[in-house]
């Protein structure tokens, strides 16, 4: 029996769409011999026993996840990543740097990668070229074929008789980074006017989250050329509404985030007996036989009584479902991608020389809790000169006298190369600990010290941040070759400056050749 544990960001994530659409369905269809469970990351950081053999991180874009992944790998667990949103392909928006830097940080601790779509996995492959990547589509939920057949024929009959269509748009209406949700609805909503022009009485219901219904969101909806009503989204209401709806309107924008989405929304609508009208990017191309691209085509088929989703076509729909969203198939792929890797021995059992398992470098914004967490897993807490908290770090990189200096807590000297340890100079107590100064130029192989003057200006440090962090990362690796090095940073601009610079596979798009 193999247990796969999905590591989630918080207990609240259990009620998220990702959990509901993906992991709960996969768990219920898990192949024999495989159990799929889940646990919030905070819980896993507190536990002493890790019962699962495989841990898959899902949307845990936080430094705690890096530490946990590092620890899990060191105790012999297999670590995977699962992606279903593309925050990684838009490289010119600094606000997305935190996701992208996190994936790069996670790469050394990743044994395999899962993604919902081909496009998404190809994006992730740029970040994680060493780990095997497998596409595991979002599976459909269990449904009753007979119910669906009845619902489809009832809807067609009623709509044709009344020439009245209830159209639904459903989903998260807002996004802080991407122009999606109600923006897509409004951008493509012009087509909805065609129903009336073609002699059909159509009303739209917008089923979305309340956050999207700001004054701007409502003002946008007002521009729709069709009568509409708004309902707050709940899982139950979505189910109930789509079962009653004739048409699901699912516009798709062409930006990277939207293009990497799964078939889930379209499948959800089809399985509730809705005709699907999807404008914009042809995301649902693989289900094209059941997806209308224009209101005119839908009305023409309604007039002929030959809509795409109708009783006689259901067998074909089931074929497509089997091909693209079979729960058994998805769960099997999911399980085999996770379990096909050989189990690695715990580093306790290996013959690697002793030393801290990880060095956790605090960047500009790094919480005290991370400092404690590093200690809990036996790691070193490393101060960069940008971290302004006063903590008992075990390794410090400070700006002193206009240069970058490296200092180590005395009790950690035993892990150092003996030649280097002899060059250490006692500098006395800092906070509660005794420290020695280490010659940074010798660690780095330089002839001169590393000049560094930290300005008093709130942001002047950004100019030197990537270079200094690169130096610290390298110094940590040289001081403790067996340790994993993790940067804990949550400052948006700091991450932006580090993006592409502090990682070995930086894509150098600029002509001046800075890497």
């Amino acid at each position: 029996m193999t247990t796969i544990c999905i590591v989630i960001q918080s207990p609240e994530f259990v009620s998220s769409a990702g959990m509901r659409i993906r992991y709960l369905r996969l768990a219920s269809a898990a192949p024999l011999g495989t159990t799929i469970t889940y646990a919030p990351i905070a819980e896993l950081l507190q536990t002493k026993t890790y019962d699962a053999e495989i841990y898959i991180f899902s949307k845990t874009f936080m430094p705690e996840a890096l530490i946990l992944a590092c620890h899990l790998q060191k105790i012999g667990k297999i670590v995977g990543q699962d992606f279903f949103d593309d925050y990684f392909s838009q490289m010119d928006d600094a606000r997305l740097a935190r996701f992208q830097c996190w994936v790069r940080e996670m790469e050394p601790f990743t044994d395999f990668v899962l993604g919902t779509t081909e496009r998404l996995t190809s994006v992730i492959a740029e970040y994680m070229p060493r780990a095997p990547i497998t596409i595991v589509p979002d599976p459909i939920e269990a449904f009753d074929r007979s119910d669906l057949a009845h619902r489809v024929s009832d809807k067609i009959r009623t709509a044709s008789a009344s020439r009245r269509l209830s159209i639904y748009w459903f989903g998260i209406g807002d996004n802080p980074f991407f122009s999606v949700g109600v923006r897509d609805l409004v951008a493509y909503g012009g087509d909805l006017a065609r129903f009336k022009a073609l002699g059909w009485d159509a009303t739209l219901t917008v089923l979305t989250n309340t956050r999207a219904l700001s004054s701007e969101g409502l003002a946008l909806l007002r521009t729709l050329p069709i009568d509409f009503r708004i309902m707050e989204w709940t899982e139950a209401r979505e189910d109930e509404s789509l079962k009653a709806a004739d048409v699901a309107f699912i516009p798709v924008g062409g930006q990277g985030f939207s293009r990497a989405k799964s078939l889930n929304r379209c499948l959800t609508a089809l399985l509730r007996g809705c005709q699907v009208l999807s404008r914009g990017y042809p995301l649902y191309r693989s289900l094209g036989e059941f997806v209308y691209r224009s209101a005119d085509d839908l009305v023409a088929d309604l007039e002929l009584g030959q809509v795409k989703l109708r009783g006689s076509q259901l067998p074909r729909l089931y074929e497509l479902l089997d091909a693209h969203a079979s729960p058994a198939e998805a769960a099997a792929t999911f399980g085999s991608a996770a379990t096909s890797l050989p189990m690695r021995p715990s580093e306790k059992d290996s013959s690697r020389r002793a030393g801290p398992p990880l060095c956790l470098i605090h960047g500009r914004n790094s919480d005290t809790s991370i400092h404690k967490l590093a200690a809990r897993f036996g790691g070193l807490s490393v101060r960069s000169p940008f971290h302004e908290k006063t903590l008992n770090y075990q390794l410090r990189f400070d700006s002193i006298g206009g240069e970058l200096r490296c200092r180590i807590e005395k009790s950690r000297m035993k892990f150092l190369d003996p030649d280097l340890a002899t060059a250490a100079i006692d500098v006395g107590r800092i906070m509660d600990l005794e420290f020695c100064d280490l010659p940074l130029s010798r660690i780095m192989g330089w002839n001169d010290p590393f000049p560094l003057a930290m300005g008093s200006d709130r942001f002047s440090w950004l100019a030197v941040y990537p270079s200094v962090m690169g130096v610290i990362r390298t110094a940590c690796q040289r001081l403790f070759p067996s340790a994993s090095v993790i940067v804990s940073e949550q400052h948006q601009l700091a991450l932006a400056t580090m993006h592409g610079d502090a990682y070995p596979r930086a894509t150098t798009a600029i002509r001046s050749g800075v890497a």
């Binding site: 010119d92 928006d93 600094a94 606000r95 740097a97 802080p176 980074f177 991407f178 122009s179 951008a187 493509y188 012009g190 087509d191 006017a193 022009a197 701007e216 003002a219 007002r222 521009t223 050329p225 069709i226 516009p251 924008g253 062409g254 930006q255 939207s258 914009g280 990017y281 042809p282 206009g402 240069e403 001169d448 000049p451 003057a453 930290m454 300005g455 008093s456 200006d457 942001f459 002047s460 440090w461 950004l462 100019a463 030197v464 990537p466 270079s467 948006q492 932006a496 400056t497 993006h499 592409g500 930086a506 894509t507 150098t508 798009a509 600029i510 002509r511 001046s512 050749g513 890497a515």
Partner: protein, 730 residues
């Protein structure tokens, strides 16, 4: 009479279908005066004497209503049909084949005739029908606007309900698709359902001309009106171009007048094919496919009625997205090269009506829209999905230089005209009207953090040249105080991709050794051999100090940096030096950000001309405007750059005459230099694709510089033509 074809080929026949061609035209004679078709029913057409005859009017295959006869003269019945709206509607449709106008004797479908276009349009009225004009209905249209892309809402004064029990129907007709098919697209009742005097009717296309017909219960036509360009109305895609042109856009009468003038210009422009914009080329590198220009309504209107070809100039990098976007455009196959001009647009822009109806370089009569100036780029920036300021931008565009100065990896966001002809070297103040409307999404644009450089992976790089900048760069720093700590700046210089050849410091300390230890240390450790120090006269102005540093500098390019500025983008020196060494460029700078609490906020990106001030003495007023929104990821000419961060080629700097020694404030020094550079024929470029962090003393909001005293012979024309003009429209 000459027959014209009925182009309504795909439409089902209505119940009022008329007799087929050829008609017997002997029963009716038709003449036209300026605003009417005068139809005389001859004796041959008099059938029966029981009731006054009525003439049925049909356009395409749509029956509009009937016209009752006027008093009979000499035994003939006379009909006067208001024709201005019909004429305009037909002529607007010329590009797709004008729909026929047919007349028939009501109740006698055997007697019908087509009105030839020649007859209908033989009087070329300078003032086509305007929709505010009252018809004979007793109704007066008081206001109208687009409630949505599919709904036209009208408010009437003296509604039908005021005129007793009479009920009027209002029907809207449009050309649908890219053919000449006329359809009734909406109908409203003026007396019930929609409230007193307000009527909402459907539209098939919010850009296509709308023929509005009011009829009474007997189907008698009470008024015929045309809205030639409904997108100019409130809620329409082109509404903001009225505000940019200082038209009182809320006043329906003004909107109607502009519509009539545009219509007239558009009809005239058909005779100047070589001078029209007949193609739009879209740079779709940043497109998502949901932009307005890719909607069926816009494409139908552009490629159908307006006769403009729409093509992709650059495609998105993603093949599938490129294929999808290409599929949205009309497939035209191999097109014959047209003689007109093309407009290059980013995907988030649509052309203005003004650009499409104007003739280029044409000495149009005064009442026509002003010409489109091919030497400047003027456009409107409007938030698409959110509230926010709407801006009018007018930017000089020098081919070669301006293209090369734009960030690579992005679509060029600056609409521009390609005439294929040399740009006239006019010396008149730019009168350019907006050529395009960009619809940006502020959700992802308004945060300066978004524009922060993304390490070395950022594709948002300026590239003026194919090779990295290799010539020598001298960094010039004027220390205002002996305690100035330039260590952070020096650190940031250390990590620049283009290493400075030398750093020239000018300060009041007697030597480098008197500077703060951190500064000394930073300089000596990072640039041990490249630092030169000059002692500055304490009474000398900052301009003098910087000019002195420049004088001493040996580099081909001078980069002036304030001690409080930090170059957070490692490509800054490289990019600014590349811009500064382009032909005709006097200075180059970047967008400056500064700390606003714990966040970075916009500080400034060049000085913009704000206007003439006569508050004390005549002066030019300047502002530092928020170009992070309106000119994000772009390089543009400004009136002046700030010496807090500015690159200049040394020989150009000297030719312009260095910084003035007369001013104390940084902004006056900057503007003085910028103006002299422009006087000498140069441009000053600033780019929002590069960011740096400024200290607290960065650009103030507004400042004046004495105009007459300093520049008694200032060439205002040149100044305006060398500077981006930004104007907030709300």
């Amino acid at each position: 009479m000459t027959e014209i074809d009925d182009a309504g080929i795909a439409e089902p026949l209505t119940a009022m279908a008329l007799s087929l061609d050829p008609p017997d035209s002997g029963w009716l004679s038709v003449d036209a005066d300026e605003d009417r078709l005068l139809c005389r029913l001859t004796t041959a057409g008099r059938i029966g004497n029981d009731a006054p005859p009525a003439l049925s009017i049909q356009i395409g295959r749509q029956r509009l209503g009937v016209v009752r006869c006027q008093p009979v003269l000499d035994g003939d019945a006379l009909f006067a049909i208001p024709s201005a709206a019909l004429r305009s509607f037909v002529r607007l449709s010329e590009h797709v084949g004008p729909p026929s106008v047919r007349l028939s004797l009501d109740g006698q479908p055997d007697l019908s005739a087509s009105v030839p276009v020649d007859t209908l349009c033989e009087t070329d009225s300078r003032r086509p029908a305007a929709f505010y004009e009252s018809g004979g209905s007793g109704l007066k249209l008081a206001d109208l606007w687009l409630a949505s892309d599919a709904q036209l809402r009208l408010r009437f004064e003296g509604s039908a309900s005021d005129t007793g029990d009479e009920t009027l129907n209002l029907a809207a007709y449009q050309i649908v698709g890219r053919t000449a098919a006329v359809r009734e697209v909406g109908r409203g009742d003026l007396t019930s359902g929609s409230g007193l005097g307000i009527c909402t009717i459907g539209l098939a296309n919010p850009l296509g001309p709308v023929l509005l017909v009011a009829t009474d219960a007997e189907l008698t036509i009470r008024s015929l009106n045309i809205i030639p360009f409904p997108s100019l109305l409130r809620g329409g895609l082109h509404h903001w171009e009225l505000r940019a042109a200082a038209v009182a856009a809320d006043d329906m009468r003004d909107v109607a007048n502009v519509s009539a003038a545009y219509l007239s210009a558009f009809l005239r422009s058909r005779h100047h094919q070589a001078r029209r914009i007949d193609a739009i080329q879209i740079d779709a590198r940043d497109a998502a496919g949901n932009e307005s220009i890719f909607t069926g309504a816009v494409l139908d209107w552009l490629t159908g009625l307006m006769g403009v070809a729409v093509r992709l100039d650059r495609e998105p990098a993603d093949d599938e997205l490129a294929e999808h976007i290409a599929s949205l455009l009309p497939h035209t196959g191999e097109e014959e090269r047209k003689p007109g001009s093309s407009l290059s647009l980013p995907a988030d822009a649509i052309p203005t009506l003004h650009a499409l109806v104007s003739a280029l370089d044409d000495d149009s009569p005064k009442e026509m829209p002003s010409r489109v100036d091919s030497g400047a780029c003027a456009y409107i920036v409007q938030p698409r999905f959110s509230k926010g300021a709407v801006w009018s931008v007018c930017m000089p565009w020098r081919p070669g230089v301006m293209e090369a100065a734009q960030p690579i990896g992005h679509a060029c966001g600056i609409p521009r005209l390609n005439t294929g002809r040399a740009i006239p070297s006019g010396r008149t103040i730019v009168r350019t009207r907006s050529m395009a409307i960009r619809q940006i999404d502020l959700l992802t644009m308004a945060d300066p953090a978004r524009l922060f450089p993304m390490g070395a992976a950022s594709p948002s790089v300026l590239t003026g040249q194919s090779e990295p900048f290799s010539a020598s760069i001298s960094v010039c720093i004027a220390l205002d105080s002996i305690t100035d700590n330039v260590a952070p700046l020096i650190d940031s210089l250390r990590f620049q991709s283009a290493r400075p050849t030398e750093i020239v410091l000018v300060g009041t300390a007697s030597s480098l050794d008197e500077l703060p230890p951190t500064t000394q240390h930073a300089l000596r450790s990072a640039f041990p051999k490249e630092v030169r120090y000059r002692v500055r006269d304490p009474s000398a102005t900052r301009g003098t100090a910087l000019s002195d540093a420049a004088e001493q500098a040996s580099g081909e390019v001078l980069v002036f940096v304030s001690p409080s500025t930090v170059l957070t983008d490692r490509r800054t020196l490289d990019a600014l030096a590349s811009l500064a060494t382009m032909e005709g460029i006097a200075s180059a700078s970047a967008m400056l950000l500064r700390a606003l609490g714990d966040r970075l906020g916009f500080c400034g990106a060049g000085y913009f001309l704000a206007g003439l001030s006569f508050s004390t003495s005549p002066a030019l007023a300047y502002e530092a405007l928020p170009t992070d929104e309106v000119l994000a990821m772009a390089t543009y000419p400004v009136a002046a750059n700030t010496s807090l961060l500015m690159a200049s080629r040394k020989r150009v700097f000297q030719k312009v005459g260095a910084f003035s020694s007369e001013y104390q404030s940084t902004s006056n020094i900057d503007i003085d230099f910028g103006l002299r550079a422009i006087q000498a024929g140069y441009l000053n470029l600033c780019s929002t694709a590069l960011t740096a962090i400024a200290g607290e003393t960065a650009l103030p909001g507004t400042l004046d510089i004495d105009l007459l005293g300093r520049f008694p012979r200032l060439d205002l024309d040149r100044l305006v033509e060398s500077t981006t003009i930004l104007r907030r429209l709300k």
